[in-house]
């Protein structure tokens, strides 16, 4: 944007200088009036040398059809390279040759050590008034502008010479006439003839003049083209603040037609009311004292459109270099969009700062090569450190919770690998309070290829405490519903325990009787004793499972096999299912990936789904009460467990409400089983859902993430919070 603008400004400056130079050239005829031909030559030489910074300018002025001529030249910095003008004269002569016979071509001649481009310009259509040769060592010479200025100068010089010659001729003719009138009337006729001849010539010259005027108009047209095609608004005004030019860009921007505003006061047209007085004062001061505050500067101000709306502009004002009353050109650019973008940026920065403040988030950056760390004010506040003091590793670590210092330093080491990371650690503040921080850092390479990090630090203490409270509540509720579920199974559980106990008693009795026989049946006794032990183990297993379900203990997360967990639940509920004449089929996937979770809570969910399915089929008499429990690995790194029944199913419209607390379709249920189940599954980052079957019944299923490879390999989880007060499942976040 800036580069473009500077190029544009440079181009405008160049064109402006060109216009100024043109105006200066056009002023030359005014100062020539009455001057002789060498004066014309001198002023042209001086003007062109000044404007074009030429190294060499040569003028040959011819009179009387080429019989006599005057030569002049100016040398720029060439004087440093060659000793004497004569040497240049020699070079020029060689190039010119006999110019009257053959017009010399543009050339390059060697002057000193450098080449100089020389171009010739005719004075008069055939060069009958001589020539101008301009030379420059600039590589791009002649530029379009230089050519334009030189040709205008040549044309003007021709006119000047012709006029001067005419004056001479006229005065000579008049003198002659007088002398002849006094001396001999006979010569009057000849003089008259001479005069007529002069008049004829004059007619010719006028025709030429008209031709030159056409050329001038052409260059005016060029100027107009520049004004028309300029992207910026170009508005010129005279010393009375009247608008003298208003280009198409200005018409588009301000909503005025050029002819509406030409000659009007600038202040009344495009200057907002509150800026009109300063504008008038500034102009008056400049006219009185030549003291300018805005000329040549790029300033930002406001302007007003035809419909009265005010908008920001960038403005540069230059004075048009011209003798007489000053006039000014203003270049204006509508910067509404830029201003808006700047404002947007400021606003979003404010929003960001506000968002940071509200979400207790701070930012940091770090350059690995230098170890230089920058913190936002929020991070200093989290650490309780003074931003005024230098930030050292020791100061940082002094706040990190002692149990987390090792992990914290590990992360610092890992930064050198240049990978993005997320991690959590605690701060132990001087007043012994603990803060939980969550850090997300993004590795970046700067322009030099140096590694650095940008990151956000969030104080998640409040969230963490809320999570803990929620987990505690969930755990309590889960325990209560577990007791409820198991309570509902009392009869089945008694059966489950009594069965092996019965085996124990029977076998033990048999054993005793075999030993008491005469002779004792030792082999039989051994066999029954073995069965006694087996049944005792079986009873023990049942008790262990029951104890687990009844237990109220901290939630623990472990890598576990969902098939195995489901199998244990089935083992406990088999009698219950049998009692309800439910036919069970297990479809467990082989090689099911392990999951990360709380075994008891997940078993509670499975038990709940199984008992619900069994209940749903309790009134079904016209079809088999079939229950299918299946497991499967899903594509998206999840493991799924489905419980499908052939029961009464549910109304699709109430599908949503199924998982709401205290929503129940059962007379004996509290309606919290499914809502607790869903809460458990969600705490495992999983999903629990229900769909009606194509046939009778419904399918309830949940899916939870499989243990990530990294956890299986390392045997550790991401977060390092291990405080004993929590009842929250330690589910690893994404590593």
């Amino acid at each position: 944007m800036d580069t473009q603008f500077e190029e544009c400004a440079e181009e405008i400056g160049r064109l402006q200088r060109c216009i100024n130079d043109l105006v200066s050239l056009l002023a030359l005829p005014a100062i020539w009036s009455g001057g002789d031909t060498s004066y014309i030559g001198r002023t042209v030489l001086d003007a062109l040398m000044g404007m074009l910074r030429l190294d060499l300018l040569y003028v040959r002025l011819s009179f009387s059809g080429g019989d006599t001529s005057v030569e002049m030249f100016r040398i720029g910095d060439l004087r440093k390279q060659v000793g004497w003008p004569e040497e240049i004269g020699e070079l020029l002569n060689r190039w010119l040759g006999d110019a009257s016979k053959q017009w010399p071509p543009p050339t390059k001649i060697r002057v000193g050590v450098e080449d100089m481009s020389i171009i010739p310009l005719r004075l008069g259509l055939q060069g009958e008034y001589g020539m101008i040769a301009a030379g420059s060592q600039q590589a791009d010479f002649p530029t379009q502008i230089q050519t334009l200025l030189l040709s205008v100068a040549a044309n003007l010089t021709t006119i000047g010479l012709r006029e001067a010659e005419l004056r001479n001729e006229q005065s000579r003719a008049a003198a002659e006439l007088d002398r002849r009138v006094v001396q001999r009337t006979s010569e009057l006729a000849a003089a008259n003839a001479e005069l007529r001849k002069e008049i004829a010539e004059r007619t010719l010259v006028e025709a030429r003049l008209r031709h030159e005027e056409t050329a001038l108009r052409r260059s005016e047209a060029r100027k107009a083209a520049i004004l028309d095609s300029a992207l910026d608004c170009i508005v010129t005004m005279d010393h009375e603040s009247r608008i003298t030019e208003f280009n198409p860009a200005a018409e588009r921007t301000f909503g005025y037609r050029r002819d509406e505003v030409m000659g009007k006061k600038l202040a009344d047209v495009i200057i907002p009311p509150e800026l009109r007085a300063p504008h008038r004062q500034g102009l008056a001061r400049y006219l009185a004292t030549n003291e300018a505050h805005v000329l040549g500067l790029r300033i930002e101000t406001t302007a007003m459109r035809a419909d009265g709306t005010v908008f920001p502009v960038e403005l540069a004002i230059t004075r048009i270099a011209f003798d007489g009353a000053p006039s000014f050109t203003g270049y204006l650019r509508d910067i509404t969009e830029r201003k808006w973008a700047e404002e947007e940026l400021r606003r979003s920065e404010t929003f960001l700062a506000e968002a940071r403040r509200l979400s207790s988030t701070g930012g940091f950056s770090k350059r690995i090569a230098t170890g230089e760390i920058r913190w936002s004010a929020e991070v200093y506040q989290m650490f309780g450190l003074d931003p005024a003091e230098p930030l050292t590793h020791e100061r940082m670590v002094s706040r990190v919770h002692p149990e987390d210092v090792h992990a914290f330093n590990e992360i610092l080491k890992q930064q050198e690998r240049g990978v993005d990371y997320e991690h959590d650690y605690r701060l132990l503040m001087p007043d012994q309070t603990v803060k939980y921080l969550h850090v997300v850092a993004h590795a970046v390479c700067d322009v030099d290829g140096d590694l650095g990090y940008f990151g956000a630090v969030q104080d998640v203490t409040q969230r963490r405490l809320a999570d803990e409270a929620l987990a505690k509540a969930r755990s309590d509720l889960a325990h209560v519903t577990r007791l409820t579920s198991v309570g509902a199974m009392t009869a089945s559980i008694a059966h489950e325990v009594n069965q092996p106990l019965s085996g124990i008693v029977t076998n033990a009795s048999t054993c005793l009787r075999m030993l008491a026989a005469d002779p004792p049946n030792v082999a039989g006794a051994r066999e029954t004793a073995r069965r006694t032990i087996r049944d005792a183990n079986r009873a023990s297993d049942v008790i262990t499972r029951l104890r687990a379900l009844f237990s109220r203990r901290e939630a623990t997360v472990e890598t576990m096999d969902l098939n195995e967990a489901a199998y244990e639940v089935i083992a406990l509920s088999l009698s219950e299912l049998r009692r309800h004449r439910v036919i069970l089929r297990q479809e467990f996937a082989d090689d099911l990936p392990p999951v990360m979770g709380d075994r008891i809570q997940l078993q509670q969910v499975i038990l709940n789904l199984v008992l619900n399915a069994s209940d749903a089929m309790s009134t079904v008499e016209d079809r088999p009460r079939r229950l299918v429990i299946s497991t499967a690995a899903e594509d998206d790194d999840h493991v799924r467990l489905m419980v499908q029944d052939t029961g009464v199913g549910f109304d699709p419209q109430s599908a949503k409400r199924l998982f709401e607390a205290f929503y129940t379709t059962k007379s004996g249920g509290m309606g919290i089983g499914l809502s607790v189940s869903r809460s458990i599954i969600e705490s495992h980052h999983g999903r629990l859902w229900a769909v009606p079957n194509d046939g009778p019944g419904a399918t309830f299923a949940f899916s939870i993430p499989r243990t990530s490879e990294a956890v299986i390999r390392a045997g550790v989880s991401g977060p390092v919070w291990t405080s004993g007060v929590t009842d929250t499942p330690q589910i690893p976040r994404k590593l």
Binding site: A491, A494, G503, S509, T510, R531, D535, R578
Partner: protein
């Protein structure tokens, strides 16, 4: 040689079918075990069975169902129910419906012997 009374055991629990016959043998009975009511009905032991040790809850035909079926067939075999569901309320109803006894698992060998003795005397 005294002919031993034939006691048929019908229970879906394998460990019962494994342990109970041994004890019954020790107590001096001849034993035949079946895993379901249907299996028993299909066998040729129905006529020879002098006492039935019958589980209440089984997949398919339940214990009381079998008892009813036998009554309807005119097979008046004394029945001793055995159950692991410790619900005392079922006992009076079963006795009312003609069961000789109802034993709750786990039961002792003396309780079993007493029940069988009662049943066989009734038979």
């Amino acid at each position: 040689m005294v002919t031993r009374s034939l006691v048929s055991v019908v229970d879906d629990d394998e460990s019962v079918r494994e342990s109970l016959p041994d004890l019954l043998n020790e107590l001096g009975f001849a034993v035949q075990a079946f895993s379901s009511a249907e299996e028993f009905l299909a066998s040729d032991y129905v006529d020879r069975t002098q006492c039935l040790l019958l589980d209440i809850a089984m997949p398919g035909m339940s214990g009381p169902d079998l008892q009813l079926e036998l009554t309807q067939r005119g097979q008046d075999i004394p029945v001793v129910f055995i159950t692991a569901h410790g619900d005392e309320r079922v006992r009076p109803r079963l006795l009312e419906q003609g069961a000789a006894e109802c034993l709750f698992k786990p039961f002792s060998d003396t309780a079993l012997l007493a029940a069988l003795t009662t049943a066989l005397q009734a038979g």
